[in-house]
């Protein structure tokens, strides 16, 4: 295993700490932090700033019975919320998005497969499976695209991305990620808009595949 060299940018960490990152990106950032101690430390530093803001918050007096009501509930039995730990190559937040099940892969042709974890108004997050030497269909995108490598590696115009590396691409980057030789590359990818393909055929297929 080589060290993670591509990290979560600070503005995304701050937005994530504040809970203001759209859901698809939050899944990717939470997954990267699950793999990366450096970014976990940076996230917790942002939480320290949040804590300072909380300490300085204008105080509002609470209802008289709030404290007694809370104290009375301390012994109440609770069903613990499920926590999701890593399963194989999948970090906890991916396992949660998969609801603990295995990915359901759908073919995109040329051996490339995807498993959509969620798609909605805020964008989409999916797993991509790319056989060694294969390219992710040539694409550009409308907004921000985050890609986290979970297995294998890929390379594109900007460099090489191995397990745990996060690629941050915006609309100015037209790139062709190609899976390196070796194990198939499995990535977690989030976009806030449908991917736009630059070649005709995938563009025609796009509505079918929701990529």
């Amino acid at each position: 295993m080589t060290a993670i060299t591509h990290h979560t940018p600070d503005n995304l960490l701050a937005a994530y700490a504040a809970g203001n990152l759209p859901h698809p990106y939050a899944v990717v950032v939470a997954s990267h932090i699950s793999l990366c101690l450096k970014c976990r430390a940076a996230l917790e530093a942002h939480q320290a700033v949040g804590g300072a803001v909380l300490e300085a918050a204008c105080q509002q007096s609470v209802s008289e019975n709030l404290k007694s009501s809370i104290l009375a509930q301390l012994d109440a039995p609770v069903t613990p919320e499920p926590t999701f730990q890593r399963s194989g190559i999948y970090p906890g937040p991916v396992v949660e998005a998969l609801k603990g099940k295995s990915p359901r892969w759908a073919s995109l042709g040329t051996g490339v497969r995807q498993s959509i974890l969620s798609a909605g108004r805020e964008g989409s997050v999916r797993l991509l499976y790319i056989p060694p030497g294969q390219a992710v269909p040539d694409h550009s995108h409308n907004g921000l695209e985050l890609t986290l490598v979970l297995q294998g590696s890929f390379s594109d115009e900007t460099g090489r991305f191995g397990v745990g590396d996060l690629e941050v691409a915006d609309q100015t980057l037209e790139h062709t990620p190609i899976a390196d030789l070796g194990a198939p590359c499995i990535c977690l990818a989030a976009t806030d808009a449908p991917l736009r393909f630059t070649s005709l055929i995938p563009r025609l297929l796009q509505p079918l595949f929701r990529i």
Partner: protein, 185 residues
């Protein structure tokens, strides 16, 4: 006159009593300190008072139930509660569970390191001072950002806050934990 030796804050002492001894008096003290701040903090982003109190209640109950996850080598109590409060607020507003990183627990067999805990508190104190020293408009931007009122596009990568030292200190705190990540690096 010599400065008095720095002390671990009452909030941390209370939180550790809650975590290690399930101390209700300490919990009540945490409530008295944090509940009015939490309510003010939650209401600032437009949540009505009644709903804000419900969130305060959920947050304080989570503090009690998940106290085992509090690690003073990585966080001050305020930072830890901030994160619980934001998670709860998002869950309530968006009606979906916010994705969170895998939990890392402190290994109970590792002795606490008082000087490390103190260093975290001092870094936290310095952050507070740095925020207090900002010009009002800059301070408001920081508050807005951490209240979740700015998008990631609106947050500048240069907040002007010195986070480098606290990051390294937290990183040392993470290195104390025994977990599989450590073997990966």
């Amino acid at each position: 006159m010599a400065k008095p030796p720095p002390q671990i804050s009452m909030q941390t002492v209370w939180m550790l009593s809650v975590r290690d001894d399930r101390d209700r008096v300490a919990f009540a003290n945490l409530f008295d300190h944090f509940a009015p701040r939490l309510k003010g903090f939650i209401m600032r982003s437009g949540t009505p008072a009644g709903q804000a109190e419900e969130i305060v209640q959920d947050v304080m109950l989570t503090v009690w139930r998940k106290s085992a996850l509090f690690d003073p080598h990585r966080a001050q109590v305020s930072a830890w509660i901030y994160q619980i409060a934001r998670n709860r607020q998002i869950d309530v507003i968006r009606k979906e569970r916010r994705p969170i990183p895998e939990e890392l627990r402190e290994d109970p067999s590792i002795e606490p390191d008082a000087s490390h805990i103190l260093a975290i508190e001092q870094e936290g104190g310095q952050l507070k001072q740095a925020i207090a020293r900002l010009k009002p408009d800059q301070r408001e931007i920081i508050e807005k950002a951490y209240l979740g009122e700015l998008t990631h596009q609106e947050i500048s990568s240069q907040t002007g806050l010195p986070l480098g030292t606290i990051k390294s200190r937290i990183r040392l705190g993470l290195n104390r934990l025994r977990h599989e990540l450590k073997d990966m690096r």
